[in-house]
Symmetry: C2
Subunit: 330 residues, 2 copies
DNA sequence: TTGAAAGCGTTACCAA
DNA sequence: TTGGTAACGCTTTCAA
């Protein structure tokens, strides 16, 4: 591997000059610069990142730690972050905490060890509770999940409003006994519950929330139990895509047909929800905007570490499809 | 940040000894070692990875470059790779090439710049064609996609056999005019086509392959055109999950009901395929095994760089569901 | 505008 | 078994 020394030798200049051509080319006179650039090309020189980091005590690298890499939500967010980061000469490292606080912690430590310039994090519930953003040697931006008390920049959906709108939509279409499948382990589940409860309260109706692990299996079990019970709901709202999938599974297994037998709506506009045979009403999140905003907040904080923390709230879009068209409708 | 010097000073030993405690503790006598360990704990010392890399000229880091991070296939593979890597003290960096050869190339360069110990790659078609595994400064293991001529370790599905089995299953259930939705841009599509053609040839039937971008939209368009045409097939086989989704979209939009009006089967046992309202026959890939095997091949090659390249072929499982039960069946 | 030299934190070599 | 010292490749003073 050619080093900066080899380049300097070949170009007949000092290593300082080569370094300058790499970082601030305009500070080197044209003829010399071209000489150096030629040597770089001829030797196929690539700077050693480890050496650069050691010297600069900072890596041109941002981390994105997500709780579930499988969800379309986070991959879209990741794409947006990468786009912004790349334009600013920053590399992105993607980490999947898999909803495991220990893994999350371990990745944060990895980022510290790697001297990352910044980290964007969608924390687990446990991780969020004990999170001390100031304790990390890099700026931290939270996405998707955050508490009002957290002193860090954050980008979140207006979960409460989105859930309220979805619930109102079900109410408008004639459903009255609306059950909520809500995920524990996340602030989003709680906020979505709040919006749901709010909409029902405005109509003087009783909420029927069910709390569970945010998995397909839990959603299926809870829904099956609900449908087998005496006080059967006439509509279901699921607070994320996996719970929605589980709910559909149970509804279909019970031989029920939305929207007639039961209304269905849920968060996350996953690709399969638009299949005509399912045609599920969903809340679509502005995933790309969320990621882009998070990356921009991070870059700003990197430049201005002392500015006060900001929260950006984005809106979800209700995608109305057939599954919530109203009881008795085909 | 405390450095190894601070630890040495506090423990009253040389930096060499501290370094040894970190890498080969058994080479340091117990009392001294404990002294050092105490100092490390008290100072909350963390080794500087950049310095370590600069010195060792190797990062304890493996890269996984996938063509589509969204697919369950690659996230499962990633989890398996991470498990194995973690057990061997290696960090995993996940990169998404998004089927873009330029991005793939750029990530390979990133891995070289980072002095990665090894890389696992699912190459794009263009990337595979011009891939020179020996040209990279790290061992390379291919997953999912590879050519027989590629001189690198590789782990692949027996795509041809899997496609043959799926086709035979459709034939066994009475379908005769079976169309194939195959993705260009990948060797898997071609191999799956071969198995499909083989099964049809054995029955003296004509293949009806359609080549397209491996996207939902392309699958939908192609299927819609197929269904609107004169020589309408009585079954469809899709070579990946997105094409399957697109095919279902078009079939349902046309008001057709599998398995009666048309048989459906496809690769990738995605979570939504088991919904009762869809109940799609699929080929499930042993994703975790694929990832684990790839990681193991990589570790072996890191230890023994000169061993000849090996190919590991794993089998897919046909998951029979209702969508292929036979024409005229409900 | 250019160059010399120091130093980032670690490990590897050699000597004790 | 332990320690001194050089070196990894780069950037950043500082001086010319």
């Amino acid at each position: 591997m050619a080093s900066i020394k080899d380049v300097a030798q070949r170009a007949g200049v000092s290593t300082t000059t080569v370094s300058r051509v790499l970082s601030t080319p305009e500070a080197v006179r044209a003829p010399l610069r071209e000489q150096v650039e030629r040597a770089i090309a001829e030797l196929a020189y690539r700077p050693n990142l480890a050496a650069r980091r050691l010297r600069q005590r900072r890596a041109s690298l941002v981390g994105l730690i997500v709780s579930d890499i499988r969800s379309a939500f986070f991959t879209d967010v990741g794409r947006a972050v990468e786009d912004v980061a790349y334009r600013h000469g920053l590399r992105l490292i993607l980490c999947n905490s898999d909803e495991d606080p220990a893994k999350e912690q371990s990745y944060l430590e990895l980022m510290a060890d790697e001297q990352a310039s910044g980290v964007i994090l969608s924390p687990t519930m446990a991780g969020l509770k004990q999170l001390r953003p100031q304790a990390w040697p890099f700026p931290l931006v939270l996405v998707d999940r955050a508490m009002d008390t957290t002193r860090a920049d954050r980008v979140v959906l207006d979960n409460q409003a989105a859930a309220r709108r979805a619930t109102e939509h079900l109410l408008d279409n004639g459903y009255r006994r609306i059950a909520l499948l809500a995920g524990t382990h996340s602030t989003t589940g709680q906020q979505r519950h709040a919006g749901y409860a709010e909409a029902l309260a405005a109509c003087g109706l009783a909420p029927q929330p069910l709390w569970m692990d945010p998995t397909r299996e839990a959603g299926e079990r809870a829904t099956a139990a609900l449908l087998a019970g005496t006080d059967r709901p006439d509509a279901l709202l699921a607070t994320n895509g996996l719970l929605l999938l589980g709910a559909l599974q149970a509804v279909q297994a019970a031989g029920l047909h939305p929207p007639r037998d039961i209304g269905i709506a849920g968060f996350d506009n996953n690709d399969w929800t638009s299949l005509p045979a399912l045609d599920v009403t969903t809340i679509a999140q502005p995933t790309y905007d969320i990621g882009r905003t998070a990356a921009e907040l991070l870059l700003q904080r990197m430049q201005e570490p002392e500015r006060p923390a900001r929260q950006v709230v984005l809106e979800g879009a209700l995608v109305v499809r057939g599954s919530s068209a109203g009881p008795g409708r085909r």
